[in-house]
């Protein structure tokens, strides 16, 4: 009995050491197949998109090995037309259902699409996403209208965050998008947003005399 308890305690200590240890040098013997399976498990249990660096740290393996494992996982998911997908979002990896099955998933969950953002909030969010860090007067200049309630909504929904003050008259607060923004809009990072200049063509094209 006590023998068993001691063994359990040792295992726990080992685990703690692994988790706490920050050096990536000491590579342990984990086979690629095993690594793939463990990475999948960790991504599954993680609450937020999981950074491959965190996986490498916990398992004490090279990050390149983790990247390989994830790449091969992504292939597996798509090749067997899985109901799940492994996606890169906000600098990490996440397992989720595929959008094409949303009707059935919703029917089972008995859930309705959640409340959408208003047009004003979306426009304000677009300005902040592309011009960040940006101040309220600068947003006003582009939108041509005050947007205090839109900014409050976006702050409440944690889609934007304050990014310090601008060193100009009145030192206005600057805003930028948050990690939550990337998650909610399914973006890897900000560079995944289409270039704002692409929208110019779209806007210009409609003009006909």
């Amino acid at each position: 009995m006590s023998e068993q308890a001691r063994a359990a305690k040792e295992a726990e200590a080992d685990l703690a050491e692994i988790v706490e240890s920050d050096d990536i040098e000491g590579t342990r013997e984990i086979s690629p197949t095993e690594l793939k399976a463990i990475a999948e498990a960790l991504i599954f249990v993680a609450d937020d998109p999981l950074d491959p660096k965190a996986i490498a740290r916990v398992l004490r393996v090279d990050q390149s090995a983790v990247d390989d494992a994830i790449r091969s996982l992504v292939e597996e998911y798509s090749s067997r037309s899985s109901g799940l997908q492994l996606r890169e979002i906000a600098g990490g990896w996440q397992i989720s259902t595929r959008p094409e099955h949303h009707e059935h998933v919703r029917a089972y969950l008995k859930s309705k699409p959640s409340a959408k953002l208003s047009l004003a909030s979306l426009e304000t969010l677009a300005v902040i996403a592309y011009k960040q860090p940006v101040t309220v007067p600068e947003i006003l200049e582009i939108r041509g209208v005050q947007s205090p309630s839109a900014i409050k909504t976006l702050l409440d929904k944690r889609l934007i965050v304050a990014k310090g003050r601008k060193e100009t008259v009145g030192r206005p607060m600057m805003y930028g998008t948050s990690k939550e923004f990337l998650i909610q809009f399914g973006l890897k990072d900000l560079s995944e947003l289409p270039s704002i200049e692409d929208f110019q063509d779209l806007a210009g094209d409609v003009t006909n005399e």
């Binding site: 599954f44 949303h102 996403a129 809009f185």
Partner: protein, 268 residues
């Protein structure tokens, strides 16, 4: 609401082959039940939205806006909004002023000696703002469709761990300790409900008036001392001031820092 005024406004809604610039196009339609005209205004988010809508509706080239015409239409729209008692936001008025200024600048003859390239189109700044604004409207639409797709994607439900469900991680003794603390705190607290008596200035004036009238004169200090709360004291003070202002009472003080007496003033 005058119907005649609406007739000449008529922002034709049926001709909108371009992309929708605002949430909805303005329209005037007869209401079948009440036989009245119903005016639906577009959801214009601001002056730039309205201006874009007018430009798109008239299908004019955005790089060559007929300022006079667009300004007239813009002002008519503003009038309509005012007639409908809609609060016209200041932003709309600022834009109106800018348009009128632009209109007058367009009327000025160009400097004949200036080189062709040097003559800057006074509309350039406005056009740039409009195009910039339209780009962000398109970007907002893009975000909207992305969000729609994202809402169709589900991740697993929360896993119960000690971290996200901390109350389960509490032992029996922790619970007992907390319970004892609550018991101890409960002993200390003596609860008593106090009903707050709110006296209005009008009530206090009436009280003061009656007291002065019945007694002929009143020690103001004593009157103030009757106040039960800070608030009531303020009210008492105000009512003394008010009665003095109305010349119903007069205040006298025989010596410096002495007692102040209030007397009823006889309406002579």
């Amino acid at each position: 609401m005058e119907k005649t005024s609406l007739d000449d406004v008529e922002p034709a809604a049926e001709t909108a082959p371009t992309i929708s610039v605002a949430g909805a196009a303005p329209a005037i339609a007869p209401d079948r039940e009440t036989d009245q005209l119903r005016v639906t205004l577009g959801e214009f988010e601001g002056p730039l939205d309205l201006l874009l809508y007018l430009i798109r509706q008239d299908q004019v080239n955005i790089y060559d806006i007929p300022i006079a015409r667009i300004t007239d239409e813009y002002l008519r729209y503003l009038n309509l909004m005012q007639e409908l008692d809609l609060a016209v936001a200041g932003d709309f008025l600022v834009m109106a002023a800018q348009l009128i200024e632009l209109k007058s600048r367009m009327l000025l003859p160009r400097d004949p000696f200036a080189a062709e390239e040097e003559v800057e189109d006074p509309r350039a700044e406005l056009v740039n703002r409009l195009l910039e604004h339209e780009k962000f409207k398109a970007a907002a639409e893009m975000l909207w469709s992305r969000a729609t797709v994202e809402r169709a994607v589900f991740t697993r439900a929360e896993i119960e761990t000690d971290k996200n469900n901390p109350e389960v991680a509490v032992g029996l003794f922790d619970l007992l300790t907390v319970f004892q603390k609550i018991l101890a705190r409960h002993k200390e607290e003596v609860l008593m409900e106090i009903e707050r008596e709110e006296v209005t200035v009008a009530e206090m004036i009436e009280r003061l008036r009656n007291m002065v009238r019945s007694a002929g004169e009143l020690n103001v200090m004593k009157f103030f001392e009757q106040a039960k709360s800070r608030r009531e004291l303020v009210v008492a003070f105000l009512s003394v001031l008010e009665l003095v202002r109305l010349a119903e009472i007069s205040l006298t003080q025989r010596e410096t820092f002495g007692e102040i007496t209030a007397r009823a003033v006889n309406p002579a």
